[in-house]
Symmetry: C2
């Protein structure tokens, strides 16, 4: 049996796993990233992590088909270069080439959200499909697009960024410098902002007791919890959130027309509270309506293992 | 030498041309479409047109590699079915299969905007590139996306519809039933609407003399002409138009990151009046900014022959 190694390069930890032909993580290990260090030190640690993993589990390099990396930031999958990562302070880091030199194994890289989407197609909620759009609802809005079983990168690095398509002209400021991007409405950060604003406007809202009277304690769940208890102010925030996310999903459908749209990230734990109204929204608004192909809306399954599995899937088994 | 036949199926005329290996139209013919007829009659006429073209120019079917069709509406390129065409009143018409039976030649179909984009890549303004997004600014906003020299269709029929991605939530009504789509701001129809509105609000505007005092005469050129003469009201309309188109192009860039974005359709005759400010807009607003790959903005070249050339290019030479 041939194995592949997947590396999930995160801002806090570097996780690496040995993945078998059936897309199962057999063994995994992690180390802290210390992303503030020079890139070459981080890459050397990645190589050492892989070597330790192989040594501990008594694997030979000849048993490994290659190493896939899911990296944050803008990644050029063709050249293996991290063009830009804001979190890491990286610019034009030849991650693929450097790790290949250290490990003497084939290396492929892609953006972390792309890898997560590929992971879901290979072994998660989209495993019965070949075409999937994954939208991760976290600090930002990430997206990964898989068409015919392969990551859709766009022609040059910096494509497939659904989070940075404009939805509300002259709307809320986005981290990318534009205003009104999907990310500025559908991220957990945006939801927390809107929860706080709604609470400030409605001193009688349940939102206040839900956060112990201190808006600093508001998180991505607060507004959903208060909405479930019947708080009208919270329900309005949730409705608006789902509407914006739904508009963004319809945009994605009108461009990529996948089999399924998956939601990932912290907010996706709300499950059917999101997927039911979103399915209805897509049915009503996508181009061609009932006459056209309408994708399913689902929740990502792999959670923390998506990164490793998706990265490993960059290497053909 | 092997030839291919390209058919441009339009609402008014059906045009067919015999295209050589160098993407030149050697001979062409056209007949009226009479789109109101049953689909099978239109298809029979398409077959007859091809047969007459072959007969007149003394070509044998054995010299023809195949027939490509650029069709309006939502097209399933895999099955050759026109899923839906509003203009033709077609639903689930097996255009590819039917024409193949009539002609006994391989037939491939795609949406007309997709074919126009492929035509530009093979023989037009994008011929030195493999990755191109074409946006046609006409009655509606069509789009064709070519990645690695092939049309990007999305996974199912009804993808690649940039004109039907939302830009202005709760904005102007769009023909697709949504509000605020790019088409509702960047089509010639939208520009004419906005020109009329501006004229009504500004009785002293040059727009009035430009249309002979009757807003019925406003067309896609009126506002550009008045803007060139220094009319502030017209300049504001042009500025807003370019801004909306620019925002739509940035969305396309953040998803597809092509080598070049081409503008087609009547409005594109404005040339540098559009491409200069749009290039600047994309440079300023696309994800990753100067650190990322920034596509060129250009004008489509093939005009009326794009349809035939692009349709023929569906058949591998």
């Amino acid at each position: 049996m041939r194995y592949r190694i997947g590396i999930d390069l995160g801002g806090t930890n570097i996780k690496a796993g040995i993945v078998n032909d059936e897309n199962e993580i057999r063994w995994e290990k992690q180390i802290p990233t210390h992303a503030e260090r020079p890139a070459q030190e981080v890459i050397r640690d990645m190589a050492e992590l892989v070597n330790r993993l192989l040594w501990e589990y008594e694997m030979e390099k000849s048993q490994i088909a290659g190493v896939g990396i899911g990296s944050p930031g803008t990644v050029d999958a063709k050249t293996g270069v991290v063009v830009y990562s804001n979190n890491f302070g990286w610019e034009n880091v030849p991650l693929g080439e450097s790790l290949k030199k250290e490990l003497k194994l084939p290396v492929r890289i892609s953006n972390d959200a792309n890898c997560a989407a590929l992971g879901e197609v290979k072994a998660g909620a989209a495993r019965t499909y070949a075409n999937c759009v994954l939208i991760t609802l976290g600090t930002g809005v990430g997206s990964g697009i898989v068409i015919d079983g392969r990551i859709f990168e766009g022609a040059h690095a910096g494509g497939a960024e659904l989070g940075h398509t404009m939805l509300v002209q002259d709307g809320e400021a986005c981290t990318c410098g534009r205003r009104g991007c999907l990310e500025a409405y559908a991220s957990a950060t945006a939801l927390i902002r809107d929860t706080r604003r709604a609470a400030e406007e409605h001193p009688d809202s349940l939102l206040w007791s839900r956060c112990g009277g201190d808006l600093k304690n508001v998180d991505g769940r607060t507004v959903f919890d208060a909405a479930k208890e019947g708080d009208a102010c919270a329900q309005a925030v949730v409705e608006r959130y789902i509407r914006c996310l739904g508009d963004g999903i319809v945009n994605a459908v009108n461009l990529f027309r996948p089999d399924i749209v998956l939601l990932g990230g912290g907010i996706c734990k709300q499950g059917e509270v999101l997927t039911k109204p979103l399915s209805e929204h897509v049915r009503q608004h996508c181009f061609g309506g009932e006459k056209s192909f309408i994708p399913k809306i689902g929740i990502a399954q792999l959670e923390n293992s998506a990164g490793i599995l998706g990265a490993a899937a960059l290497i053909e088994a």
